[in-house]
C-alpha cells in the first residue's frame, strides 16, 4: 500500500505580475512538515494552493490523491487554520466550529460534542459563546485551530499555528500534532519561530522568493550543503589533545576550544572521515564524552540557504 503524499508538480502561481511561487515540485510524506521562509517567500501561497483557496497557473497538485479543485472530497480529510483573522459576523466560537462540522455531515449532537472537545483542547470553553469578533488575537488563532482540527483531519495545514498560544496549550497542541503525525497523517505548518520548527518537524521545506530552496529531513538537507563545513561539538576531558590530533586530518577546517578545556567545536568538510577519525581517537584512549552536530537544525539551514551567510 503506497503512502499517501502531498504532491506538487511544477506548480507556479502569479498574482498578476507578482510571483507567488515558481515551478514548485514537492513530495511531502505524512508526518510533520514545516514550511520555512522569510515573509513573502510563498509559504501562505503554497498552503492556499494546497487547500484550493487559490488555483495554480501552471502545474498540478494532489493532496493525498485528491485535487484541491475538489473541495467536496478534499476538505473532508483536510483542516486548514488560515492566517485570515476574521470570522463570519454571526459566529460565536462554538457556532463557528459547530457549523463547519454540520457541513461535514455530522448530526447536530455529534457536531456540538466534537466542537466542544476541540474548544476544550484549546482552552476556549469559557469564551465559547462569545462572538469571535470580540475575541483577542490569540483567541481567534485558537478558535481557527479548533475549527481546523475538530473533525480529526488526516491532512492538517496550519499557517503559523502556534502564534498566540500560551505555553500549556502550545505544548498540548504540539503533542497532538505529534500523535497525528505518528498515525500517518500529514501536518503541514508554517512558522517563523525556527527553534519551534526544529523541535517539531520531521521534515522542512525551505522557501525563498517563491521557490523551494530545499526539502527533506533536516539532517539530509544539511548533508547536501557542501559549501558550509559541518559543525560538531565534542565533549571530552582533554580537549587540547583531541584538537591537536584532529588538526592532522585534512578535512578539518577549523577547531575552536572551549575556555574550560572540556569541549571543542570542530568544522569538517567530510562527515564520514570525521566520524572515522573520532572513532580512532576514542579507541586510542582519549576520553570522548559526546558528539553533537551543531548545525543540523533549521536555524543553520535557514542561515546557509536563505540568509546566504
Amino acid at each position: 500500500m503506497s503512502v499517501p503524499a502531498v504532491v506538487f508538480d511544477e506548480v507556479s502561481k502569479f498574482y498578476g505580475e507578482v510571483l507567488g511561487v515558481n515551478r514548485v515540485t514537492l513530495n511531502i510524506p505524512p508526518g510533520i512538515t514545516a514550511l520555512v521562509g522569510p515573509n513573502g517567500s510563498g509559504k501562505t501561497t503554497l498552503m492556499n494552493l494546497m487547500t484550493g483557496l487559490i488555483h495554480p497557473d501552471h502545474g498540478s497538485i494532489r493532496m493525498r490523491g485528491i485535487s484541491p479543485r475538489d473541495p467536496e472530497h478534499l476538505m473532508r480529510i483536510t483542516g486548514y487554520a488560515t492566517q485570515y483573522d476574521s470570522a463570519p459576523r454571526w459566529a460565536t466560537g462554538f457556532s463557528f466550529v459547530t457549523t463547519g462540522l454540520l457541513l461535514f455531515g455530522y448530526g447536530r449532537a455529534e457536531a456540538e460534542e466534537k466542537a466542544w472537545k476541540a474548544l476544550e483542547r484549546l482552552s476556549l470553553t469559557e469564551a465559547a459563546h462569545r462572538k469571535v469578533a470580540a475575541y483577542s488575537k490569540g483567541m481567534r488563532q485558537r478558535v481557527r485551530l479548533a475549527q481546523a482540527t475538530a473533525h480529526d483531519p488526516e491532512l492538517l495545514v496550519l499557517d503559523e499555528p502556534l502564534n498566540g498560544l500560551d505555553p500549556l496549550v502550545r505544548a498540548e497542541t504540539i503533542a497532538l500534532f505529534r500523535t497525528w503525525a505518528a498515525e500517518g497523517r500529514h501536518v503541514i505548518l508554517s512558522s517563523h519561530v525556527l527553534q519551534e520548527v526544529d523541535v517539531l518537524s520531521d521534515q522542512v521545506i525551505l522557501i525563498a522568493n517563491g521557490m523551494v530552496v530545499a526539502e527533506g529531513e533536516i539532517r539530509n538537507v544539511r548533508e547536501e550543503i557542501h559549501e558550509h563545513p559541518s559543525q560538531f561539538i565534542i565533549r571530552c576531558r582533554d580537549a587540547s589533545r583531541v584538537a591537536s590530533l584532529l588538526f592532522g586530518e585534512d578535512h578539518v577546517t577549523e577547531i575552536k576550544l572551549n575556555d574550560d578545556q572540556s569541549g571543542l567545536l570542530v568544522m569538517t568538510r567530510n562527515r564520514e572521515r570525521f566520524s572515522r577519525a573520532l572513532s580512532r581517537i576514542a579507541l586510542n584512549g582519549h576520553g570522548i564524552d559526546g558528539v553533537i552536530p551543531a548545525d543540523e537544525n533549521v536555524d543553520a539551514l535557514y542561515e546557509y540557504l536563505i540568509s546566504g551567510k
Binding site: 492556499n48 483557496l53 487559490i54 488555483h55 467536496e72 476538505m75 473532508r76 470570522a87 459576523r89 463547519g100
Partner: protein
C-alpha cells in the same frame, strides 16, 4: 508510522448535497434577513404598503366624519341638477355634511373699454407743438417694461395723425431697433420691432409736431395691440402738451380704470350617501357643477396599485432590494474577509452557490412577495365590503396570485443576475446601472433581445395593465410599457430559462473563484 487512507472521519456520513444546501442557506438567512444592509430592503418593500395605509386611514377617517354629520339617500344626491338654486337644494337635501363658502375675483375689461387701444379726447382743445406721453405704471403685472406700439395725435379739424413720422424722443430703448420713432411710424403690426419699449424710469415718449397745432384727441396703441398679452398694456400714464418744448401742461391722466374686478360668490355643499360624496358647487347661488364620486374608488385604487407594482415595485424596489441582498452574499464575504470559511467546507462550490442563492431567494421572496401581498391587502382594507366580495368572487384571487408570482419571479430573476454579478465584478454600481439601463431600453430592442430582460417577463405576468397617461411623451411610454407581452406560461418558462442561464454562468465563475482579500 501507520499510513492512513483517505476515508471520512469516523462518525461522519457523507452529507447529502441537499442537506448541505439547506445548512448553508439556513446560516445565510441570518445575513440576508438581519444584516444592517437588509433594513433598507425592508423599507423599499414596505413603502407602498405605508402609502396605501395612509390613503386607507384618511378615507376611513373621512367616512367617519361625513357619516357623523349627515347621510342622505343616494337618489336625493342623484336628483340634483345644474342650474338649481342653493335654497332649493338645501330644502330638498337638508343640512349638508360640509358647507363651505368663498368668493373669487377676476379682472375683466370694463364694459365699453376699448381693447388694447385707448383714445383720449380733450376738451377744450389745446395748442401744442410738442406732445409727451409719461408712463407711470407700465403694466398690469409686475413687469416694469413700458411698451407703446403707436402714439397718435389728432387735431381739431384734421383727420390725419399729426405725429406720424414726426421727430421723436424718449427714454432709452430696451433694444436698438425699438426706439421712440417706432411709436410714430403708423404701424402696430410688425411685431416687437415695431414698438417703442424702455426699461428706464421714468419712461417718456415725446414727439415734435413741427408747428403749433390745435390738438383734440390722442390714441395710444398698447402692448396688446401689437399682439402681446393685454396684461402688458400700460396701466397708468398721462399726456402733456407744450408749445415750446420747455413748459408742459398735463391734458390727460389715465389709470387702469378700464379694467374692473368681477366678484363671484361660491358655495360648496358636500353630501354623503354612505358610499359616495357629492360636491355641489354653486356660483352666485346657482348650482354650477356637481361632482359625485365614491369616497374610495376601488377600480381606481386597483389601477394605482397596478402602477405602483409595475413602476415602483418591480422596477425599483425588487431590483434594488435584490441588488442589496444577492450582491452581498459573496461580495459581503469578500469585504468581511470570511469567504475562505465557506471555501474550506467539504462541499462543491456549486452547492455553496445554491445554498447562498437559496437563502437570498427565501429572504427576498418573503420580503417582496410578502410586501406585495401586504400592500394588496392594505389597498383593499378600506374598500366597500360589497365591492370586495364581488372582486374576490371574480378576478381578485387570480390578481393576488399573479402579483405574488411576479414578485417571487422578480426575486428569482434579479437575484440570479446580482448573485452572478457579485461573483464576477467588484463594484455593484456598474452591474446595477448596466442592468437598469438594459431593462429600461427593453422597448427599443429587437424582439430576440427583449427576451433577455427580466422585466419583459415580469410585466407579462402582471394581471392589470399599469395606467399610462395618453398624453405622456412617446419616449416615456416606450420606456415604461412592456414591449410585447408574452403568455403567462411563456413568461414563467422564459424567466426561469434566463435564470438558469445566469446561474450556469455563476457556477462557472464560482468554480474559478479564488480567495484574494488583498485585491479588495
Amino acid at each position: 508510522m501507520i499510513p492512513v487512507t483517505n476515508t471520512p472521519a469516523p462518525g461522519t456520513q457523507h452529507p447529502r448535497r441537499a442537506a448541505q444546501i439547506w445548512t448553508i442557506a439556513r446560516i445565510e438567512l441570518r445575513r440576508a434577513f438581519l444584516s444592517k444592509r437588509a433594513f433598507w430592503v425592508y423599507g423599499l418593500a414596505l413603502l407602498p404598503s405605508l402609502i396605501f395605509l395612509g390613503h386607507g386611514i384618511e378615507a376611513k377617517v373621512r367616512r367617519e366624519r361625513l357619516s357623523a354629520r349627515s347621510v342622505i339617500p343616494p337618489e336625493l344626491l342623484d336628483g340634483t341638477r345644474e342650474g338649481e338654486s342653493v335654497e332649493a337644494v338645501l330644502n330638498r337635501l337638508g343640512t349638508p355634511a360640509r358647507d363651505d363658502q368663498w368668493s373669487s375675483r377676476r379682472r375683466i375689461r370694463a364694459a365699453g373699454g376699448t381693447t388694447n387701444i385707448t383714445s383720449h379726447a380733450i376738451e377744450p382743445a389745446a395748442d401744442a407743438r410738442f406732445v409727451r406721453l409719461n408712463i407711470i405704471r407700465p403694466t398690469y403685472v409686475g413687469d416694469q417694461t413700458a411698451r407703446i406700439y403707436e402714439f397718435e395725435v389728432y387735431g381739431a379739424d384734421r383727420p390725419d395723425n399729426l405725429a406720424l413720422m414726426r421727430p421723436a424722443a424718449g427714454s432709452a430703448p430696451c433694444h436698438p431697433d425699438q426706439g421712440p420713432e417706432k411709436a410714430f411710424n403708423g404701424s402696430d403690426s410688425g411685431g416687437k420691432s415695431d414698438r417703442w419699449c424702455t426699461h428706464q424710469w421714468d419712461a417718456f415718449l415725446q414727439v415734435d409736431l413741427g408747428a403749433v397745432f390745435e390738438v383734440r384727441r390722442f390714441v395710444v396703441r398698447h402692448a396688446g395691440a401689437g399682439g402681446e398679452s393685454e396684461d402688458l398694456d400700460t396701466r397708468e400714464f398721462n399726456i402733456q402738451v407744450s408749445r415750446d418744448g420747455k413748459t408742459f401742461s398735463t391734458v390727460v391722466r389715465e389709470s387702469g380704470a378700464r379694467f374692473v374686478d368681477e366678484r363671484t360668490s361660491h358655495r360648496m355643499l358636500v353630501y354623503f350617501d354612505g358610499r359616495r360624496v357629492g360636491n355641489l358647487v354653486f356660483d352666485n347661488g346657482v348650482l354650477a357643477s356637481r361632482g359625485i364620486r365614491p369616497l374610495l374608488d376601488f377600480a381606481e385604487d386597483r389601477q394605482i396599485f397596478a402602477g405602483v407594482f409595475q413602476y415602483f415595485y418591480l422596477r425599483l424596489a425588487i431590483f434594488f432590494g435584490c441588488l442589496g441582498i444577492f450582491m452581498n452574499l459573496f461580495r459581503g464575504e469578500m469585504l468581511d474577509r470570511t469567504l475562505h470559511f465557506w471555501f474550506l467546507v467539504p462541499a462543491r462550490r456549486e452547492i455553496l452557490l445554491a445554498g447562498k442563492y437559496g437563502a437570498g431567494l427565501i429572504a427576498s421572496t418573503a420580503i417582496f412577495a410578502g410586501g406585495a401581498l401586504l400592500c394588496f391587502a392594505v389597498m383593499m382594507w378600506p374598500q366597500d365590503p360589497v365591492e370586495l366580495q364581488v372582486y374576490w368572487q371574480g378576478a381578485g384571487m387570480a390578481h393576488a396570485f399573479w402579483y405574488t408570482v411576479a414578485a417571487a419571479l422578480g426575486c428569482i430573476g434579479y437575484g440570479s443576475v446580482f448573485l452572478a454579478a457579485g461573483l464576477l465584478l467588484r463594484n455593484p454600481i456598474i452591474p446595477a446601472a448596466l442592468l437598469l439601463a438594459w431593462e429600461s431600453i427593453n422597448g427599443f430592442l429587437p424582439e430576440i433581445l427583449q427576451k433577455l430582460s427580466i422585466l419583459y417577463y415580469l410585466q407579462s405576468l402582471c394581471p392589470v395593465p399599469a395606467p399610462m397617461e395618453k398624453d405622456a411623451p412617446a419616449i416615456i411610454q416606450l420606456l415604461l410599457l412592456p414591449a410585447a407581452p408574452a403568455s403567462r406560461l411563456g413568461a414563467v418558462l422564459g424567466l426561469l430559462g434566463v435564470t438558469a442561464l445566469v446561474l450556469w454562468v455563476a457556477c462557472i465563475a464560482i468554480r474559478r473563484m479564488q480567495v484574494s482579500y488583498t485585491a479588495e
